[in-house]
Symmetry: C2
Subunit: 338 residues, 2 copies
């Protein structure tokens, strides 16, 4: 290995509201050597996810919080630079939970090899990564859309939302996306072939839903929570399903989460609201990756990444998610593949 | 027929908040004669239900609102006094949607005969009526409790809640009831054999749930909404289920419904919240009535009615439900069976 220094971003303090610079600290350590069974990876790209905000909070969740002083948790794609596991050779490309740092040492069994010739590396953090797995299983296994049904997705130009809408189109549904900004709305309709898009920044969402979902919403895929969740609940069709995948509008609240006032629409419409965590489907990831890769190859599915750099700017780049500034899957480029 | 006068209670104006006397008007009409296929029933008992408050509101729901000037909708049990339908003889006991009045004229096909020798008549408005059907299908088909799971029910001393808890016990679950008042709590544990009861008027519900549901809540059967719903969401177990059957705490709101702030517990716990309307199971009522009647005969299920009179006091009696003053199924006695 040429490099000897490993820059890292650690959680210094738990944020109140939007994370600020002082919630983070930078450290530099020597790049570690792998022990038996371990692998050292040079991190090339890191996935920036809304869920990161939740991991910064104390308290019970689907995954333990990141501890104060720990390297911030992050998934990524990188290249093996030293290996104590015969299953991995130097030069192999792998995905894993690297953390926000330049080099990561992990057990080989925590890594998955990827084929850098089959797709650009960032796609393994996007359609062929966790956002893809999330969209695929949450929509198909929890939302259970049927051909001809109306599917509404919020955060529709984001990593998960754009894939949800496209998968719903592949399954023969009418698809309406909710996103912020005219450029995103145009992209959803023109490039991803959504049936309609609602720009929540300039349009009234309830009116948009009335116009574009004349028969009500059969599946609402919620990435945002808040007022948009309420508007979609109010427009549910009989036996509608609400997939609770995220609530980005609420993650930086300093006041209690806004509960959905219109939840009694579940009663009126005999409808269901159900939560989803992607890890529950880990045993079936390969099945979804195969199908998603085939759809990409057939031109039916577009994986769009918004690639920004670099490690130093991590705190500011993360905030792009909460300001709706990303367009597609937000990926932090950490290093050139050299 | 001896009587010629039919006293009626009609909806005079839509209430804001708790209904008051001026929301009602009293009328007296001549008792009608049945046309071909019709039956005239002397109303003996009427069912007073929290859902009545919803029927008084304008707007889309699972059933149309009661119109201004119409006889208030109500289910009841009564005796046939005149029949134009060969399927019904004078003296038959029947249940049906009579409305809040002394005599009702309905098509024979809208009535169901009941056996007055098999159970006291008010039981046909309780365990063997809509509350029973609601408890049975909502718990078993939506909540889907499994043996050994923890089931929590609110409004636990009410018409539906008391049956839900008892059915859950029959199915081998650990059952915790939430009700208002020490006498109700004692009744749930001592008479209905609930494993524990929480008196929300004197105890902190979150603490009670922590104590009595050490492994979390597998099924929460919600009759009340509001803070109790939030407390139960916060205590859900992995793959928990919330049955949205009612929200009595919210029915008289003059402000928007309180949405459940803790709904993201659905995500964390991969849990489900689902609405229920009993009418969807109409085709299977007879199956449930058979099983409930058997449980009553075997001493496994207690049907408790809180019988009050009379038609004149309907407006005040209805309010007992919203003040938590009823203890068991609230039934308005309209007439002696003479």
């Amino acid at each position: 290995m040429v490099a000897t220094q490993n820059r890292q971003v650690r959680l210094a303090a738990r944020p109140v509201g939007l994370p600020v610079r002082s919630n983070w600290e930078y450290t530099t350590e020597t790049v570690p050597e792998p022990d038996e069974g371990e692998v050292v990876v040079k991190v090339l790209y890191l996935s920036l996810d809304p869920a990161m905000r939740g991991w910064m909070n104390e308290g019970k969740s689907y995954i333990p919080p990141v501890g104060i002083g720990e390297v911030m948790r992050a998934g990524g794609v990188g290249r093996v630079v030293a290996s104590g596991d015969s299953a991995f050779a130097v030069g192999d490309y792998v995905v894993g939970g690297f953390g926000v740092q330049e080099y990561a040492r992990l057990p080989g069994k925590a890594l998955t090899k990827v084929d850098a010739t089959a797709a650009p590396l960032p796609v393994y953090l996007s359609a062929l990564g966790m956002p893809g797995m999330t969209a695929y299983f949450a929509l198909l296994e929890v939302g259970k859309p049927k051909e001809g049904e109306t599917v509404v997705v919020s955060g529709a130009a984001g990593a998960v939302g754009a894939l949800v809408g496209q998968i719903a189109k592949i399954k023969g549904c009418r698809v309406v996306g909710i996103a912020g900004g005219e450029d995103k709305s145009r992209y959803l309709v023109n490039r991803l072939h959504f049936d309609a898009a609602i720009d929540y920044k300039t349009q009234e969402v309830p009116q948009g839903l009335r116009m574009h979902c004349p028969k009500g919403i059969d599946v609402y895929f919620d990435n945002v929570g808040g007022d948009i969740l309420d508007a979609c609940l109010a427009r549910l069709a009989l036996h509608g399903r609400v997939v609770v995948c995220g609530a980005i509008s609420q993650y930086n609240n300093t006041t209690p989460v806004k509960g959905p006032s219109n939840y009694l629409s579940l009663l009126v419409n005999r409808a269901r609201m159900e939560g989803f965590v992607v890890f529950d489907y880990a045993a079936r990831y390969s099945e979804a990756v195969r199908e998603m890769a085939r759809w990409i190859a057939e031109g039916k599915l577009v994986s769009r990444e918004d690639i920004v750099d670099d490690l130093e700017t991590f705190p500011e780049r993360l905030l792009m998610l909460f300001k709706g500034e990303n367009f597609g899957k937000l990926v932090l480029k950490v290093a050139d593949d050299g």
